[in-house]
């Protein structure tokens, strides 16, 4: 049985569960808002309302979509910490373990790791804090951490003040590429969009399968291994025959991209990884 961890507002796990239903794969959804309430666990079992207890030993894989801390009391916090212990140390097959997603808390750290690979370049990047900058060439501004920031404005020829830490990166026009890598499977798509940040485009984006050079694929798999990630969504830009690395997301919202493809390639890779025995 596959354990799916997340929250009801997350449609990515909905797409994955839908895929499991289609293929008659057993799964149990743990709504993290209900952990310590209607859903509970102990050292041997999971307990779901109206269901027989599910033994931890029956869990073949865990799809972890822990994105936000739910509101909780002390008991619920204890259950969450216990769950983290199971995810980080006790379950054998977890995508991804919480401890391995921590690189996403610091984009500079990620960029430093990514800069060790030669098949892509890193856009010129500045970390700004308590500073007024005079911008002469186009830059985009985004969060320095995992906090989502909408990157839809390109700053050109202007002065701008920054207070809390922010990341200013040279604006690279070109084709956005999202690469989903799950264990040794790579699914890359190109995204044609009218917006700098295609996630917030006013119009439908054009999404299509994209064939990456072999060395880029190898480097993405190696980057995942370095970061400890078994599943990631890597953002690249292709411009003037060069690839630029933007970031690697350890909890990629893959369902949106997959819904535009002819097959559920990413769900298939996830399901295959979570169904196999890991030693």
């Amino acid at each position: 049985m596959i354990l799916v961890l997340g929250q009801c507002s997350d449609q990515v796990i909905g797409a994955f569960m839908h895929h499991c239903v289609k293929h008659s794969v057993d799964f149990a959804f743990v709504d993290l808002n209900q952990l310590g309430k209607s859903i509970d666990m102990d050292e041997l079992y999971w307990f779901f309302p109206g269901q027989s207890p599910v033994s931890h030993s029956d869990i073949t894989g865990v799809y972890n979509r822990f994105l936000d801390w739910p509101k909780q009391n002390k008991y619920q916090m204890d259950r969450l910490l216990s769950l983290f212990d199971w995810l980080d140390h006790r379950y054998e097959n977890v995508i991804n373990r919480p401890k391995d997603t921590m690189s996403n808390l610091s984009k500079p750290y990620q960029l430093d790791i990514a800069s060790q690979f030669y098949s892509w370049s890193i856009p010129k990047t500045n970390i700004i804090m308590n500073t007024q900058v005079k911008i002469k060439s186009p830059f985009i501004c985004k969060s320095i951490s995992s906090e989502r920031s909408i990157v839809n404005q390109v700053y050109r020829q202007e002065e701008k003040a920054f207070y809390e830490p922010a990341l200013l990166q040279a604006y690279i026009p070109g084709l956005n590429i999202r690469v989903h890598a799950c264990d040794d499977v790579i699914v890359a798509v190109g995204i044609q969009s009218d917006a700098v940040d295609y996630r917030y485009s006013r119009f439908e984006n054009d999404i299509f399968m994209y064939h990456l050079p072999g060395q880029v694929e190898k480097d993405i798999l190696a980057l995942n291994r370095t970061l400890g990630l078994r599943f990631s969504g890597v953002d690249l830009i292709y411009h003037n025959k060069k690839y630029y690395f933007l970031e690697a997301n350890p909890s990629p919202g893959y369902a949106y991209f997959e819904s535009q493809l002819s097959r559920p390639y990413i769900s298939e890779a996830l399901l295959s990884s979570l169904s196999r025995t890991v030693h």
Partner: protein
């Protein structure tokens, strides 16, 4: 018969469908997004130029 524990509850919570609730296009609801970095009331110390 396969087990799909919790799926009906999930579907009930998402009765507009898998992709019906999103504001952003990639699976987040966008509430945590910002149009810009939030300014904090601290003093500006430097002026630097970026090329």
């Amino acid at each position: 018969m396969s087990h799909k524990i919790g799926f009906e509850g999930y579907k009930h919570e998402n009765n507009v469908g898998f992709f019906g609730k999103e504001n952003s296009k990639d699976g987040k609801d966008g509430k945590e997004g910002k149009d810009d970095i939030c300014p904090v009331a601290t003093q500006v110390h430097h002026l630097i130029e970026l090329y």
